[in-house]
């Protein structure tokens, strides 16, 4: 490995300020004219033998005037150089980092900080605690709190290795006297009861001495140690990430994966990357198409229709050419089909037909199970549990039921306060969001004396898991969003909302819920702060069940059907970006963004068709290249007879 020193600074005073590190000739005599005043100066006399490198050139210290990176810049040179050194060292360019420290005169951190960091990572707790004083922490500025964190880690590690007696001593003699928070101490002492290390790690949300817990401890300790003394981890990349995120957020048509962003230029997406072209028109259904969902591979699309059937379409690509064929036609439904849901591994497809739920083998197209008596009214939502262990159904009969992957009932919420019109489960399984119309409880009705008003009382205690949690008394005909914790079935919160709620989707980060609010609004709710953060307007849906979705890279877009066209908004800015015409008369009932190919989505309509929307042909090649290695799914020969595939020309002006 050839070690080269940093490039020789340009000394010509004629050079433009942007071109070099300095516009002023530097003094090469090693005087510390700067840096020493506000930072840590590493050894100015590097010894060639100090790191074992025999051929290491002598590094000359470069002294620059001023304290900023450039004359006309606000960026502090010392901060910048220290972040560069940290990054170099992080990725393994340790000799370059050392060279830069010597040439610049700035050290990434002082020896006491390095010592402290090493001791924490080694688990030398007493030395780590002793070292805190050298980091400028005092009794009144976090010393106690930092000590607590360190000793707590020591305590947990003793417990992890089964040294319960020692741990108990630590708890009694060290932690108890230091810790101000009795409830936290109580929690810590409770951990003594853990059966084994795994139990401890789970209960303490802590991943053990061998895990990342020591590094996380360092991050936590950072709170008390000034950042200028101990730089937060990966600080430089964090800043660059912020810059890229900001650029993406400013890019109106942003639909490019983060990995293809470059630091060399400010990012900007052309609007051609947006799938605005109607490339396929799938026409096999014989009645209105009401709902649709992509498989997790993005290679199959299930569509649900009023014609009492589900069609599974396969999306194939060969030689860069995309073809779409009907693969399975699941006909055995007694009523119109309202919902479809792919299992985690795409092997099972659920469909709902009025009050009936059916499970289908997606390889053979045979019906695995038909659930006909659990719900008494229309099943309005089907959602798989994220780990694939089962699914949840929600119905107009107000019930939410949890099913195993085998189709056997595992649990039930009983009667909720609402006739459910839709529900969704977050990817992290912490939230189940149900929307629907407030309804009287059957238990509160019956007697001829019970008036309309009386019947709006919440269900009787004991009947349901959430009983008593309803603080507001819902009015009949009013719609509510109710957020549950699906693990406990407990209600997190409920919000009465104006208008008719017809659809709910949850963002990939599990934090936001997108809700269609008929007749003419779509609301984005922050489930963490329990506030509505954005409204999207422009579309109309009357009293029909119209659904929307998140779409694009980073879910940058909001897409919805409407009475007539497809509407697309910028998610963060709330601005209406485009209205895609193309479907025939009637409503566009639902839209679904392809989970694997962010430049493709599908829509379905009252006009009996399903339409595929893609970006321009140049981007179609990107589709081809990203689909490598993806299993085409169960491609076992259901012949499509070419029916249903009507190719729209790329330059079809009507799709614009």
């Amino acid at each position: 490995m050839h070690i080269s020193a940093a490039p020789t600074p340009i000394v010509s005073p004629n050079i433009t300020p942007e071109a070099g590190p300095s516009t002023v000739p530097f003094k090469a005599n090693g005087h510390t004219t700067n840096g020493a005043t506000n930072g840590f100066v590493s050894s100015t006399t590097p010894s060639p033998s100090s790191n074992g490198l025999t051929h290491r050139p002598l590094i000359t210290r470069v002294n620059l005037p001023g304290s900023t990176l450039y004359d006309d810049s606000h960026i502090d040179r010392e901060e910048f150089v220290r972040l560069v050194i940290q990054t170099l060292r992080d990725v393994g360019y340790t000799q370059s980092a050392t060279t830069l420290e010597e040439e610049s005169g700035y050290a990434m951190e002082t020896p006491p900080v390095a010592h402290f960091r090493r001791k924490v990572l080694e688990g030398a707790w007493q030395e780590a605690v002793d070292a805190l004083a050298d980091l400028g922490l005092a009794e009144d500025s976090g010393l106690t709190e930092a000590k607590c964190l360190i000793i707590q880690q020591k305590y947990l590690e003793l417990l992890e290795t089964g040294k319960t007696t020692e741990a108990l001593h630590i708890l009694r003699d060290e932690l108890a006297s230091l810790h101000p928070d009795a409830t936290h101490l109580h929690f810590l002492s409770g951990l003594l009861m853990c059966t084994d290390a795994a139990d401890l790690q789970q209960r303490a949300s802590w991943d053990g001495a061998e895990g990342s817990s020591r590094r996380r401890l360092l991050v936590d300790l950072q709170h008390w140690i000034p950042s200028s003394i101990m730089i937060p981890p990966r600080r430089f990349p964090a800043l660059l990430d912020q810059a890229l995120r900001y650029q993406s957020s400013q890019c109106l048509w942003h639909n490019t994966p983060a990995r293809s962003l470059s630091l060399y230029n400010d990012h900007h997406c052309e609007d051609d990357l947006f799938p605005r072209h109607n490339t396929f028109n799938l026409v096999s259904h014989e009645d209105e198409v009401w709902n649709l969902e992509w498989s997790h591979t993005g290679r199959r699309l299930a569509t649900a229709s009023q014609d009492k059937s589900v069609i599974v379409w396969s999306v194939e690509q060969a030689d860069g050419e995309v073809t779409i064929q009907p693969q399975l036609h699941l006909k055995d439904h007694p009523f119109a089909v309202g919902c479809v849901a792919w299992s985690f591994d795409d092997t099972v497809l659920l469909s709902s037909s009025d009050h009936i739920i059916k499970m289908w083998d997606t390889k053979t197209g045979s019906c695995i199970r038909s659930i006909e008596t659990a719900h008494t009214e229309t099943v309005s939502a089907l959602a798989w549990v994220p780990d694939g262990s089962g699914f949840v159904s929600g119905s107009q009969d107000r019930k939410i039921i949890l099913w195993g992957a085998d189709g056997k009932q595992r649990d039930s919420w009983g009667f909720t306060p609402i006739r459910i019109t839709d529900l969704a489960i977050s990817a992290d399984y912490t939230r189940l969001v149900a929307v629907g119309e407030c309804a009287p409880s059957p238990s509160a009705l019956g007697g001829p004396s019970s008036s309309r008003e009386d019947s709006a009382t919440p269900p009787a205690p004991g009947r349901t898991a959430f009983a008593g949690a309803t603080s507001s008394s819902p009015r009949l005909g009013e719609y509510q969003m109710i957020v549950y914790d699906p693990r406990t079935k407990q209600m997190d919160f409920a919000v009465p909302l104006e208008g008719q709620l017809t659809s709910v989707k949850i963002s990939a980060d599990s934090r936001y819920a997108l809700i269609n609010n008929a007749p003419d609004e779509i609301h984005l709710w922050d489930l963490l702060t329990q506030r509505m953060v954005r409204k999207y307007t422009g579309q109309r849906q009357g009293r029909h069940i119209i659904r929307s979705c998140f779409g694009g890279v980073d879910e940058n877009f909001i897409v919805s059907g409407s009475e007539g066209a497809i509407y697309v908004w910028h998610r963060v800015r709330g601005m209406l970006l485009i209205v895609l015409e193309g479907h025939g008369p009637g409503s566009v009932n639902s839209v679904a963004w392809n989970p694997r190919f962010p430049q493709m989505f599908a829509s379905c309509s009252d006009d009996y068709t399903v339409r595929i929307w893609q970006a321009i042909p140049a981007v179609k090649l990107a589709f081809a290249s990203t689909s490598d290695g993806i299993d085409a799914g169960a491609g076992d020969g259901v012949s499509g007879k070419g029916k249903g595939k009507r190719r729209e020309p790329w330059d079809n002006p009507s799709s614009l």
Partner: protein
């Protein structure tokens, strides 16, 4: 037409389709019990939900000539009664826009 869910009614007494229990009307909406249909007694209602109205036809009834539409259950498509569009006799005008449901095809639901 687009997708809609069936409507649900609330009140002291909700009448539903005897075949599939789809909500149809309430006792608050009832105008008269003194009607006769094809299956015996029938009720006149101000408002009925979850039905599909057929084509208008002129039909001679015991109280005179009327333009009516058959109404069927939106879920199971059983013919439940009819709706009065127009009454030729001036003293039967009060029935216009109202619905007849056959008592034998109704069931109490909640």
């Amino acid at each position: 037409m687009g997708m809609t869910y069936r409507r649900y009614l609330a009140g002291a007494r909700v009448y539903g389709c005897s075949n599939c229990r789809t909500h149809l009307s309430t006792i608050n909406s009832m105008i008269s019990k003194a009607f006769h249909g094809q299956h015996g007694r029938a009720y006149l209602f101000e408002e009925v939900v979850n039905v599909i109205e057929g084509e208008p036809v002129d039909r001679q009834m015991t109280t005179g000539n009327h333009t009516v539409r058959d109404i069927e259950c939106v879920k199971c498509h059983v013919i439940l009664g009819w709706k009065y569009d127009f009454a030729y006799d001036s003293d039967q005008k009060y029935k216009e826009g109202k619905y007849i449901l056959e008592r034998n095809l109704l069931v109490d639901v909640q």
